[in-house]
């Protein structure tokens, strides 16, 4: 376990922080008490480390574009102090560069075959997605040739630098903050890695120099002592309720007071459950079709009495998504109390110059227009220089800005019940007034109706009576709703008083879960076919067109049909395929028949309706 000297490496304890709080040794103890245990993939090359050793390997560059950049602080001269005092010139931006010279082909090949680094093997991810996903994957790979990307050999060079740095400083470091807001205490853990090698080592979406990952633990500052309530972990760019788990969530693993989390291979994205995660990129343009698909599903199941095909919108989105796998196997090194290595915490705050003063990127700026291959900025800022939400609003980041700590729930519910009771009393008073006055008004209107000479006055008072009646009905409906609300609040309060906080997963509408094991493992033939199918499809189409066997659309149809047949055969789904084709053909036939006989169908419908009315009405007359 780290001692106070480790902790005070960046800033002395008890120094005031710019957030308005004073961070004390007690805060550090709090951080250490709940520090997460992080389990890594066996092939992981990079682990959390301190920024000093990273900066020692970097140079600092400034420029407007990739071409006009210049080194402003050379390799070996970059320190936290230098970084914190460097400001970009107008129109230019700053970025660090870890790898000044990536490995060339020969060096890379030598690096790959030497050393005792564990090699990564995983079932083919392409077997888990449909043709569209494979084509998008191919397009993604092609896009790497056109986009700004981290050069090949960078990850290997970064690994060599990281290995050398670890010789000097073998600590596993996290940067920590303790933020108090109301009765919440947010423990903010930040992990810094030399590199994100998700693409080059784990067949993922991107590579970039430098990587910041974060975990939050939210503690209620209760009168009888602080107690952990929630944990949230940053995974890619997700925010909100789905990121957090309650401390008593059955899927959250804990060792004593330490939660266990799993880091994605290379991406270092944090997950609560061990497994493999599909990081799909949903095609948002197809969202409009959701309502249509739901209506079609309802017609198919309820009107045609056909089997339920499930959530069609979800199926469509899954099949039309480019998918990558984040491997959170947790079968490698484990860092945390009692494991392969202990944490060395370092407190940071706005008072640290390199945190507060440096708004540039922490690694190579590839100018990738999609952003994925650009390095992140520091712990406080985003790439555009704005403060990260995780820094200025850690509660809002996990959707907790709307929530009180649990120890306050009984009081909050009592206050809410009191407010509702007051509203109910106000409404009861209005109802009482109307029930007192409306009968007299009704008699007055009755009296005015008897005299034709007072027609105008009668209309006015009758209108007032109608309005009063409407008001009374509305108020009675409101009173009934308020009684329901008060009852619900009372039941909730009684439940909480009895120690039951409710379902710990109630806030999760779309929890990110690992892929079931049965979907992970595929046969070698299926995996091989998945790897080559998109290329084969394109080659067959090109050959059919080139040799004038078929027009382009015919070639595409034939190639697609061949693909579907082979895919179904390999997955032993030919019966399903045949069934689906028969149903599609039946549907097309029905449409053709309806189109050809639309007049007859309309006439038949009208005659049928007439006969139904005739029989129904005659039956009613006869049965009298």
């Amino acid at each position: 376990m780290a001692n106070a000297t480790d902790i005070s490496r960046n800033r002395p304890l008890d120094a005031p922080a710019a957030t308005g709080t004073v961070q004390t040794a007690a805060d550090v103890a709090l951080l250490q008490k709940y520090e997460p245990i992080v389990r890594y993939n066996h092939a992981e090359l990079f682990f959390p480390t301190g920024v000093e050793s990273y900066l020692a390997e970097c140079d600092l560059l400034m420029g407007k574009t990739e071409r006009d950049q210049e080194v402003v602080v050379p390799h070996g001269k970059v320190t936290p102090e230098v970084l914190g005092n460097y400001i970009a010139e107008p129109g230019k931006s700053l970025y660090l560069r870890l790898v000044q010279k990536p490995l060339n082909g020969i060096e890379l090949a030598r690096w790959q075959v030497t050393g005792d680094r564990p090699r990564f093997h995983a079932p083919g991810r392409l077997a888990r997605v449909g043709l569209f996903g494979r084509l998008v994957d191919a397009g993604f790979n092609v896009s790497l040739l056109l986009r700004g990307t981290v050069p090949g050999g960078t990850a290997a060079a970064a690994q060599i630098k990281y290995a050398a740095a670890r010789e000097d400083d073998p600590r596993y470091v996290y940067y920590g903050r303790v933020i108090r807001r109301g009765d919440w205490i947010s423990l903010h853990y930040m992990y810094f890695y030399f590199m994100n090698d998700y693409r080059s080592t784990f067949h993922g979406v991107n590579d970039h120099e430098a990587d910041w990952e974060q975990v939050f633990i939210y503690i209620e500052d209760a009168p009888d002592g602080p107690a952990p309530v929630w944990i949230a972990a940053a995974a890619h760019d997700y925010i909100g309720d789905q990121l957090r788990r309650r401390w008593d969530d059955p899927t959250l693993i804990r060792e004593g007071d330490h939660p266990v989390v799993f880091a994605g291979g290379g991406s270092h994205a944090t997950y609560f459950e061990q497994g493999e995660y599909m990081t799909s990129a949903p095609i948002s343009a197809l969202r409009w079709a959701t309502g249509l698909l739901d209506a079609g599903r309802a017609f198919w199941v309820n009107s045609l009495r056909q089997p339920d095909p499930g959530d069609l919108a979800a199926t469509l989105e899954r099949n039309l998504s480019a998918s990558f796998v984040d491997y959170a196997h947790g079968d490698g090194a484990t860092v945390g109390p009692g494991h392969d290595g202990d944490w060395s915490p370092i407190l940071i705050s706005d008072a640290d110059a390199w945190v507060d003063g440096y708004r540039g990127l922490f690694g190579l700026d590839t100018h990738d227009r999609f952003g994925g291959e650009r390095s992140p900025a520091g712990p406080k800022y985003g790439r555009a220089g704005q403060q990260r939400m995780t820094w200025h609003d850690p509660l809002g980041f996990a959707g907790l800005d709307k929530a009180d700590p649990p120890f306050q729930w009984p009081t909050a519910l009592a206050e809410r019940e009191s407010e509702l009771n007051k509203d109910a009393m106000d409404i009861d008073a209005k109802i009482g007034h109307l029930t007192d006055t409306l009968p007299g008004l009704a008699l007055e209107v009755q009296a005015l109706a008897a005299d034709g000479g007072m027609a105008s006055l009668y209309k006015q008072r009758a209108a007032a009576l109608s309005a009063g009646e409407l008001d009374l009905r509305g108020l009675r409906a409101q009173a009934a709703a308020l009684q329901d609300q008060i009852g619900a609040v009372r039941r909730e309060r009684a439940q909480i008083d009895a120690g039951d906080l409710g379902d710990p997963r109630a806030h999760l509408t779309r929890p990110h879960r690992p892929v079931p094991q049965e979907q992970v493992r595929q046969g070698i033939v299926v995996e091989f076919w998945s790897a080559v199918s998109a290329a084969v499809l394109l080659l067959v189409t090109a050959a059919l067109v080139w040799f004038s066997v078929l027009p382009w659309w015919g070639a595409l149809v034939v190639a697609m049909a061949g693909y579907v047949f082979i895919e179904s055969a390999l997955r032993q789904r030919l019966t399903q395929l045949m069934l689906r084709i028969s149903l599609v053909l039946a549907f097309v036939s029905v449409v053709l028949i309806a189109w050809n006989y639309h007049t007859e169908l309309v006439v038949a419908g009208v005659v049928g309706l007439a006969l139904f009315l005739l029989v129904d009405n005659v039956r009613e007359v006869v049965s009298r």
């Binding site: 199941v301 499930g310 045949m578 053909l585």
Partner: protein, 136 residues
Amino acid sequence: MRGRPWGIWIVVGLQIALAVTLLPVFAETFPGISPVDGISQTDRWRDVYMVWAVLNVLAALWLWTLSRRAWALTMLLVGIGLSANLVLWLVNEPNWLRMAIQAATAFYLNSAPVRALFQRHDVDGDPIVLRDAESA
């Protein structure tokens, strides 16, 4: 004797009836009705129609036993029949009645109660997946 819904009786009857209209003897007896009518005696298509008709009759009789394999075979034959009908429509020789019967048969056999019926009356032993994996 197991109980069968009327729909199965109708499907079996219609499949046999449609198959009979493909036989050359029917075309000779009722000229102008059969799709085989007009095809010369020497045309190979007459043989194809003949085999097709026999296959359909056998499938229909097997379907009557409520076998799951017969269900799958009938769906396959219906699909092929619908394909042929769509090709005929493309060449401006549509047979709307056959098309309507085949389409109705496909939807009926795929309906949830009928699928459940064939699942219950498993006479083959070997499992055939009648349910889509995605909707399971």
